[in-house]
Symmetry: C2
DNA sequence: ATAATTGCAAACTGTTTGCAGCACG
DNA sequence: CGTGCTGCAAACAGTTTGCAATTAT
């Protein structure tokens, strides 16, 4: 379990303790990561309960939060407002394309030119520290999966008040 | 109160009723919009309570949701995970730059070339329906406002697991 | 009339916190 | 050993829901 080891390395790097629960969570994260799909904290919790780990909710949240801060985990916001996590790919800077229906996540590297971002910051008097690009759509598998709940038909959308 | 009228027009356009509560909310939205800052639903609720409108929480949420769907209101996700709303500017397509500290919001039009977005969709087998670009930083007024809670020092951030 | 909308209170989801005990280094 | 980490339960924030009463068309 090489990847799990690297997750633990992240903790050590940050001079945090290599505790039993963290080991277990690291491995579960890797397992969940195999599919490439993002998972919710709730899912992770269930997985952990299933294996009688005895790890508490708070610990999971705290661990996830740490790993997200360390950028070992990506935090992904779905179109429906829910949230998921997944181990980062090996790429460096990237953004996410997610499926509205199944929450599948794909990383891509396309980005705005840094110069243009800087220009906006300068123009508006902001120090820009970070940015995020999210693409939302339907993956091939989900296409044709009819109506998305509560969607307003495009011709009823009013732009530019 | 011209803008408020336009909010109501949005409802009519969608063949929804022009009710008393909606009128009141529309005007409050415009008032809150003057500052250019985004507001939380909670703030809007307090404002409404302050003026003894007698409008209930559920109504506010339902109204906000409708207006966001109609794209009359922008829904803005802040860096800290909280959420705000504001009347759209008159511009068409745009994205948001927000201040981590004060939640000030600035609109900008810089975007990814549609062709590149399409290319990603094609490559990944997704039908891309929507996208969002968020820039996060500190506005001039907030800069110097020291430590942001729980921030991991940059040299401790591990990239590319 | 009559179907949409409202207000209320209660339910819910996702996340955080306080604290006593445990365990890593 | 001492501090950081853990588990628990309870608290919390934001949002949604069921339903009976109300109101715009």
């Amino acid at each position: 379990m090489d990847k799990a080891e690297r997750v633990m390395a992240a903790f050590r790097e940050f001079s945090e303790r290599s505790t039993q629960p963290r080991h277990v969570i690291a491995e579960k994260l890797v397992a969940l990561g195999e599919t490439g799909e993002a998972f919710s904290v709730e899912t992770l919790l269930e997985e952990l309960r299933r294996s009688d780990s005895g790890i508490g909710r708070a610990t999971v949240y705290r661990t996830i939060e740490k790993l997200a801060q360390l950028k070992v985990l990506d935090r992904i916001d779905f179109a429906d407002g829910s949230r998921g996590y997944r181990l980062c790919g090996t790429k460096g800077h990237h953004h996410h394309l997610t499926c509205r229906a199944c929450h599948r996540v794909v990383e891509f590297e396309l980005c705005l030119p840094q110069a243009k971002i800087d220009a906006i910051g300068r123009r508006e008097g902001f120090t820009i520290e970070d940015h995020e690009i999210s693409l939302y759509g339907l993956c091939d598998a989900c296409r044709g999966d009819k109506v998305l709940k509560g969607k307003v038909p495009k011709d009823k959308v009013l732009k530019g008040l």
